[in-house]
Amino acid sequence: MRKLVIGLAAAAMASAFGMAHAQDKSVTMAVSIPAADHGWTGGVVYHAEQAKTKLEARYPGLKIILKTSPDGASQANALEDLTTQGINALVTLPHNSDELTDPIRQVKDKGVFVTVVDRALSDPKIQDLYVAGNNFELGRVAGQYIKDTLKSGDVVVIRGLPIVIDEERQKGFDEGIKGSEIKVLDRQFGNWSRDDAFKVMQDYLSKHQKIDAVWCQDDDMAVGVLEAIQQAKRTDIKFVVGGAGMKDMIKKVADGDAMIPVDVLYPPSMIATAMELTAANFYDQLPVRGSFTLDATLVTKDNASEYYFPDSPF
């Protein structure tokens, strides 16, 4: 599931048997993440809270301050506030890379260990550790699956919002279906919202008489897509591929729902991974540095149970 890409001190993970006396060392870790404004960020907040409880229990000297911010500007302020409290490490999922690069640089200049999650900074030199899902892979795996399953046919795409993540997923998807007979009829933005995806799908159904499959960039939008298809009572659509790993969708995969045969992972739990690795850097006496990319795993009926977290909000 996890693959080390470059320069990670590999032993970090394996060093749980590090020196015992180090467990009491006092370390303050700040975690700055977006507020739960949609399903996926909701999942991030959930997993961050879970990890906080778990890590503070594991390392008695560790204090974790968790702070959510509704937008980039307030996140910049939150970073300043956190720094003044005297922190040793910062784990952050920035709202957007450009706006927050400098505020994070200032934190770094105070000698704080910086871990960036999901959205890379404009200047990669700032981050000590970078943990991310693979957006390009998310698109590519979905495209690959559609190519392998359909061989040829007509597909419609519902994109998210016009930002980098969306672009990467889109590029990956195009890469995935390259060289096949798959034709993309339409691509429109659904704003990562069920309601908007519902509308766009309704319009696709009016516009195109035959659609073989739908790719939408995340599972939230897949909910709206499914509802629109059900309303139109159309039988030509063979399946829908979403992404991210929302529990409802994973459950559908596990249950063998024909419309949702697979899902592509982009787990919000990456925040927990980042926090664990960061803690390991302090307590396990092994420097953790570099870039850590999570696979965009294809979830199928066979492995779905591994990724099903019924307690998570997402």
Binding site: D37, D186, Y204, P313
Partner: protein
């Protein structure tokens, strides 16, 4: 130019007022046309859009497509009818989108408790609760603006954040889905069902608009709403309870939000943090496109419904057309809305 200057001096008690009067007296036909055109303008803009849609894609005029658009315009249309009251009375409500999410969330949470036995009984009670919560949210907005004497912009900006955060809190960051599939199935027809070929949400729009128009145009309360929006002092000096009227408009807005929620919940069966996002801006836009003045004193219920349809049609036409890159859709939508307003205003000025 001369006439315009005159208008700007209407406040003055000079000859100009007299001139205006003789002017209109001499040309009653023009004055008549004036009134008519202003109300008709949004419908004209709608007709132009229809034409555009038909040109762009032949599927546009398909019954299914038109019913889809009509049906999904229900949320904004119903909320905007409430906003017509608030805005006519000189107020503003930015919290409607968040309020919709909050009402939807609490309604679903109640249904998930299953405290009432029998699906239909449970639905009925849940609906009443939703209406009650909507009304209370509106009442809170109203009391804070009137008794608290705080600008409605600030109050409702505040409650916008509060309702949104409460929803996310209730959802624990995720979504609030209806748990019972049986209940879901029982409720689903409220969005997807139809009576004599007319989708239920469309019927709801018509009923709410008819009641709204009746209240605004034919009752004492409606007259008072217009008076308060035209000039609060004049209304007060005429014995109108300005605060009570203002507050009631917010309550009506809250109830309209709740009615929109009653139609929204059966569609996707869940409230999510993105539910109702930016609906406040769409509702206000619909109201203004419909010919209601943002400064208050004029309210046009049917114009508002038309405005909501225009908004929804613009989106539909954009997706159906292959003319524009998906990146430029926002720009084209914005341009179409501005053009619709230009058509409306230039007709009104004739």
């Amino acid at each position: 130019m001369g006439a315009r200057h005159c208008l700007s001096h209407l406040g003055g008690r000079n000859d100009c007022g007299q001139n205006m009067s003789t002017n209109t007296t001499a040309a009653p036909r023009r004055a008549f046309a004036n009134i008519d055109l202003r109300a008709v303008a949004p419908f004209f803009a709608l007709a132009v859009l229809f034409l555009l849609g038909a040109l762009v894609n032949t599927n546009f005029l398909g019954i299914d497509n038109l019913l889809n658009v009509l049906t999904r315009s229900a949320f904004i249309a119903i909320i905007a009818i409430g906003a017509t009251f608030v805005i006519s009375a000189g107020g503003l409500d930015l919290s409607v989108g968040s309020m919709a999410a909050f009402v939807a969330g609490t309604m679903i949470l109640f249904m998930n408790t299953g405290t009432v036995t029998g699906d239909y009984a449970l639905l009925g009670v849940a609906m009443l609760i939703a209406l009650g919560i909507g009304g209370l949210c509106g009442l809170a907005n109203g009391l804070m603006t009137t008794l608290g004497r705080i600008e409605p912009f600030i109050v409702t900006l505040g409650t916008m954040g509060i309702f949104r955060a409460l929803t996310i809190y209730l959802a624990e960051g995720g979504s609030i889905p209806m748990k019972s599939q049986a209940l879901r199935a029982a409720y689903r027809p409220v969005y997807f069902g139809s009576v004599a070929g007319v989708p239920i949400p469309v019927i709801v729009i018509l009923v709410v608009a008819a009641i709204g128009a009746f209240i605004l145009y034919r009752t004492r309360f409606g007259r008072h709403v217009m008076a308060v929006g035209s000039n609060e002092d004049v209304a007060r000096y005429s014995g109108v309870s300005v605060n009570r009227v203002r507050t009631m408009t917010y309550v009506i807005q809250g109830i309209c939000v709740a009615i929109a929620v009653l139609v929204y919940v059966p569609r996707l069966g869940a409230a999510t943090p993105t539910t109702g996002l930016l609906w406040e801006l769409q509702a206000i836009t619909a109201v203004v496109i419909g010919g209601t003045a943002l400064r208050g004193g004029v309210g046009r219920i049917w114009g508002t419904v038309c405005g909501a349809l225009i908004l929804e049609l613009v989106g539909n036409i954009m997706v159906l057309s292959d003319l524009v890159s998906e990146y430029l859709i926002g720009a084209v939508q914005g341009a179409i809305i501005i053009i619709a307003m230009l058509i409306q205003r230039s007709l009104a000025r004739r």
